[in-house]
């Protein structure tokens, strides 16, 4: 009892003041989503009312006292057709409408600003292109489409922002993405909505939508000194990627300048678009798709780079429009600390035995 009564007290206190029934609408997609949901609620209410009216009506009209002898009726094809076709039609409307929204949520516009998000047990880590990173929080400007590129380092997680009506699962081993455009500055819930183990319910955070000015201020304050691409560049050097991808004519690996967004032909003859997902694959399991004209000598970096590191590398490769930077790095490699510069990829046997 002693446990219950403060609860009751608390409850009464919050009874009227703190009792929201609908989440805030804070993104461009939210009103569209709500329109669909309202439509479905309306249809459901009408359908439910019809069913209940019939049940209650018939129960009153044909209760035994009033209607002692039942009239046997076989059925009615007309009625049967009615209640097949009308619900089907309504469901199909929902299907089309829903699919339109679905594709809208999962097709980012070309001009979206990309933020990388890594989920791991039990936190969210966001990497802004400028090198700012944050944990269990995401600062974004309103009025600008933001694309999230998500990945998980261990199990399934799900990045959910109810106020924006968007959600996307962060799955291990593969990038997923979602986009949104916030409309109202404010602080909103961020939930992990896919059960991911013990502290699943603690894997929550805040989405802080800010005016563009505030956002700029925030960016400057949280600057860590290096942009994501610069971090990638350091990694590129310290993992000796530039040993092969030097961009020089005698290099063992292909030049990576402008490779992002291009179309490559593989040794199998297949053509692939180079996007973030492809770059990740190329780094972590290079032998699964070998570019035409090259042999699969690139070692795997699986287990040696964290997902954040991969993001940095990708951002770096995306930023390469010439090999000038690579060659610069090449000449400065000697300046890097001894241990880092020599970090040669471990032999694969070791990696396999570990499993």
């Amino acid at each position: 009892m002693s446990h219950i009564s403060p609860v009751l007290w608390q409850f009464l206190q919050h009874w009227l003041s703190n009792f929201p029934l609908w989440p805030p609408e804070a993104s461009t997609i939210a009103p569209q989503m709500d329109a669909l949901i309202f439509f479905m609620i309306l249809v459901s209410l009408i359908g439910l009312t019809i069913v209940i009216l019939f049940i209650v009506g018939f129960s009153v009209l044909y209760r035994k006292q009033r209607h002692p002898v039942a009239v046997q009726i076989e059925g009615s094809t007309l009625l049967e057709a009615t209640w097949t076709i009308i619900p089907l039609g309504l469901f199909l409307v929902m299907f089309v409408w829903g699919s339109l929204i679905y594709f809208r949520v999962y097709t980012p516009p070309a001009n979206a600003m990309n933020i990388y998000v890594v989920g791991k047990q039990w936190m969210w880590k966001a990497e802004h292109p400028g090198g700012q990173h944050e944990i269990n929080a995401l600062h974004i400007p309103v009025g600008r489409p933001i694309q999230l590129t998500l990945i998980s380092q261990d199990v399934f997680h799900s990045f959910s922002i109810p106020a924006f009506r968007v959600k996307r699962e962060a799955i291990p081993g593969r990038y997923t993405s979602v986009w949104f455009q916030a409309t109202k500055p404010g602080t909103y819930h961020l939930f992990c909505t896919q059960y991911c183990g013990t502290n699943h319910s603690a894997m929550i955070g805040q989405i802080v939508a800010m005016t563009p000015d505030d956002y700029k201020k925030w960016l400057d304050e949280s600057n860590s000194g290096n942009s994501l691409a610069q971090n990638g560049e350091r990694l590129f050097a310290s993992l000796s990627c530039n040993a092969c991808h030097s961009g020089r004519a005698d290099a063992r690996g292909p030049s990576l300048a402008n490779v992002f967004g291009s179309t490559l032909t593989l040794t199998t003859g297949e053509k692939v678009n180079v996007d973030e997902a492809y770059l990740r694959q190329a780094i972590l399991s290079p032998s699964e798709h070998v570019t035409q004209g090259y042999v699969p000598i690139m070692p795997t970096y699986q287990g040696q780079i964290s997902e954040d590191g991969v993001f940095a590398l990708i951002e770096y490769i995306k930023s390469l429009n010439s090999n000038y930077r690579v060659e610069q790095t090449l000449t400065t490699t000697d300046l890097l600390p001894e241990s880092e510069g020599k970090a040669a990829p471990a032999t694969a046997e070791k990696g396999a035995v570990k499993q």
């Binding site: 999962y106 097709t107 997923t176 993405s177 678009n273 996007d275």
Partner: protein, 111 residues
Amino acid sequence: MSEPHAHDNAAAHGEDEHHIVSWRVYLAIVLILLAATGTTAAVSYVDLGIFNAVVALAIGVTKATLVVLFFMHVKYSTKLTKLTVASGIFTFLVLIGMTLADYITRAWGNW
């Protein structure tokens, strides 16, 4: 059928009046099966590209069909048995086909 009898074809296909397949059929089938095994093993040494898998599976399906039809007597069984076999294969194909619908179309477009 003024007096409908409910046991599906029970009278016609009971143990009493069972269709007995001649042993010669069995012998013929087993010889075909062995020959097919030899063929499929031999073909795997020839480079047919993607058709290696196709041929191997085609031979496998043929062999399985023969076993089902003759060793398992489906050729001589009731419609119900045939339907049962068909529904098993159908559901298996649903599992494969609908799952592949996801895997194959993942590469479409760039998400």
